[in-house]
Amino acid sequence: MRTAADTARPAPLSWIEPRQWRVAAADRESADVVTLALTPPEPFRFQPGQFNMLSVPGIGEVPISISGDPAVTGRVLHTIRDVGPVTRALCALGPGQHAGVRGPYGTSWPLSAAEGGDLVIVAGGIGLPPLRPALYQAIGRRDRFGRIVLLYGARTPADLLFARELRSWRSRFGLDVQVTVDSAGRGWHGSVGVVPGLIPRARFDPAAATAFVVGPEVMMRFAVRGLLAAGVASDRVYLSVERNMQCAAALCGHCQLGPFLVCRDGPVFCYRPLARWLGIREV
């Protein structure tokens, strides 16, 4: 869609125009989840927690959290769950094909603010990918944090993502990784139960802890309740929230959550100012 004359136009692009990024790799993580490694046509930098708008021409465009290491610039990872026509098309892309990309958008995980204390990461299902960049960054500055705890859950063992990394985070980097599933058969020797159930027994100092939480909204509400009950301050809990997003540029009005525009004031929010809005039905 961009002509030769267009490429001579000076940056920056308007919010409308995606660039075509080449698919370097497509890794299947589970039955309905794929991680696309995309190559940006020019240097690309993002903060953990930010997202790109990915598109397939003629089908549509969706917000996808960037799930890779911010320090790795040549390939930008996006972990996508197949839930509709656009994500289905993205999950079907193979190396050599292209996806439309524009971004990065949104707010990021406040890792600097969390330094000096314990970091507690609570992830449910497809909530782990948007947290993974924060984990990479925290591991890269391991000595600036106390304990780093990851509490992660999925529906069944087959739905768990990044299994190899979970093991290496535990063994090589000294992260306290607790994994659970909602249901399992005999072959699973791990924990069965909901992610919030892991919180009371997790070992961290609530007085000096910062928590990052991502998952289905119901799960996040229970997890936040558990964190607050454990003594974590409400202004040291951060969530990543989703709403219908079409422009990602604070122009189309769809992603409103009360006074907030999720594409601009989020998706990462501090829990304290958000709390009253999460409690209002259909807001």
């Binding site: 309905d32 839930v83 449910g124 299902g125 497809i126 999925a154 529906r155 739905d159 659970t180 909602d182 249901s183 399992a184 058969g185 005999r186 699973w188 020797h189 791990g190 924990s191 069965v192 139960g193 909901v194 919030p196 159930g197 027994r201 998952g215 289905p216 119901v218 799960m219 229970f222």
Partner: protein, 156 residues
């Protein structure tokens, strides 16, 4: 006379805050047990006269469904309590309890404990409150599991 398990019970989160007199009273109903990995602490349908305070290891609450094998509904670990059925008629285990890893636990004799509660209603009241809180917690978790929050909106 073997040393009582009172110190052990004192360390159990479930009994945290129990009056020392009450702790001494129920210590007589306690026994130290070990279950090697793969063995069953209890089986569905059997008489339930005990409950367990897990000190170490992991217990899977399972139910066997024809055609689906054993389904694990929840796992319990260090500090958790396994067993309500000693409290409620008809006193039969509702699930299988299998040691996923070797389990060390304190086994409490339900008949013995019920007798002590009958004699000392204050003890009974305190224990009931603790079990009610735990049951409520379990219910909340179970409901969250039921919601299948990770499932596809249109069913997967």
């Amino acid at each position: 006379m073997p040393q009582t398990l009172e110190p052990l019970l004192r360390g159990q989160p479930f009994f945290s805050g129990l009056a020392p007199g009450h702790l001494a009273l129920i210590a007589g109903c306690a026994a130290n047990v070990v279950f090697p990995a793969g063995t069953f602490l209890f089986r569905e349908g059997e008489p339930a006269e005990t409950f367990f305070l897990i000190r170490e290891g992991r217990v899977a609450l399972e139910i066997a469904a024809p055609g689906r094998g054993a389904l694990v509904v929840q796992t319990l670990g260090e500090g958790d309590v396994a067993g309500f059925s000693w409290l409620i008629e008809p006193h039969r285990w509702e699930f299988d309890g299998r040691a996923v890893r070797r389990v060390r636990a304190v086994q409490m004799d339900g008949t013995c404990l019920r007798g002590k509660c009958d004699t000392d209603p204050r003890l009974g009241y305190d224990l009931m409150r603790r079990f009610a809180a735990m049951a409520s917690n379990r219910l909340q978790s179970t409901r969250l599991q039921l919601l299948d929050v990770y499932g596809h909106a249109h069913g997967s």
